[in-house]
């Protein structure tokens, strides 16, 4: 518990402030960026530009001689534009796609996905990092991150 929160609760316990005032103060405290030793803990959010996918696969995975590496950099703008392609799917095709997806174990209703949902998905992708390392002699590595 930080110092400010403790002070508010002590003031409430001492009946110096009412419950409503304490509630307002706590809400204001939550909205403000956390401050420790005079320095703000809130980091400015850096706008990421690319989604990176790095794969290092060994012979056992690819069947090719030596190590195979894949290095893909996709602009986030391309992902945003790509998800808008979904709006071009004809309405009559939605039912067929939904049926096929559910047949393959993906219970997704495409008609219920709105462009704003997809935008939100892309925004949250910026915080995504996936690291996969192979085990037991398998040296395959996969990294997915944004930069």
């Amino acid at each position: 518990m930080n110092e400010n929160r403790r002070q508010i609760l002590e003031m409430l316990a001492a009946e110096k402030i009412t419950v409503e005032e304490a509630e307002r103060l706590l809400a204001a405290l939550e909205d403000a960026p956390a401050v420790t030793n005079g320095f703000s803990e809130a980091k400015p959010k850096v706008k990421v530009k690319y989604l990176r996918v790095l794969v290092e696969a060994d012979e056992t995975m690819t069947g090719m001689k030596g190590q195979t590496t894949v290095n893909v950099r996709v602009p986030m703008q391309l992902l945003r534009a790509g998800v808008r392609l979904a709006s071009l799917i004809p309405a009559q095709a939605h039912q067929h796609l939904d049926d096929e997806l559910s047949r393959h174990g993906i219970p997704l209703t495409l008609s219920q996905i709105k462009p704003e949902n997809l935008e939100e998905l892309i925004d949250h992708l910026e915080d995504l990092t996936v690291d996969v390392d192979g085990k037991e002699g398998n040296t395959t590595k996969v990294r997915v991150f944004c930069e």
Partner: protein, 86 residues
Amino acid sequence: MIPSIAIVHVYNSHWRSLRLWIPLFLLWIPLLLLSPLIFLVILAAGVAGRISPWRAIAVFWAISCSLPGTHVQVSSQDNKVLVRIL
């Protein structure tokens, strides 16, 4: 920003490597000349699929404008393929 150059690099240890600089901006000239025909095709496809042709054009324009910066590289011991769009 529309893509201006695509770099394609193919390397194989058994034959000489191939490095191509494809000037994509030159593709805009035939594309502009063929634009009435392309528009008619998009219009027909839009009517058939009940999609606004303007929306289709906007989506494809957005995709082509966001292509610069794309980088795909696949390499193994003997082969290497690199595609970059600038």
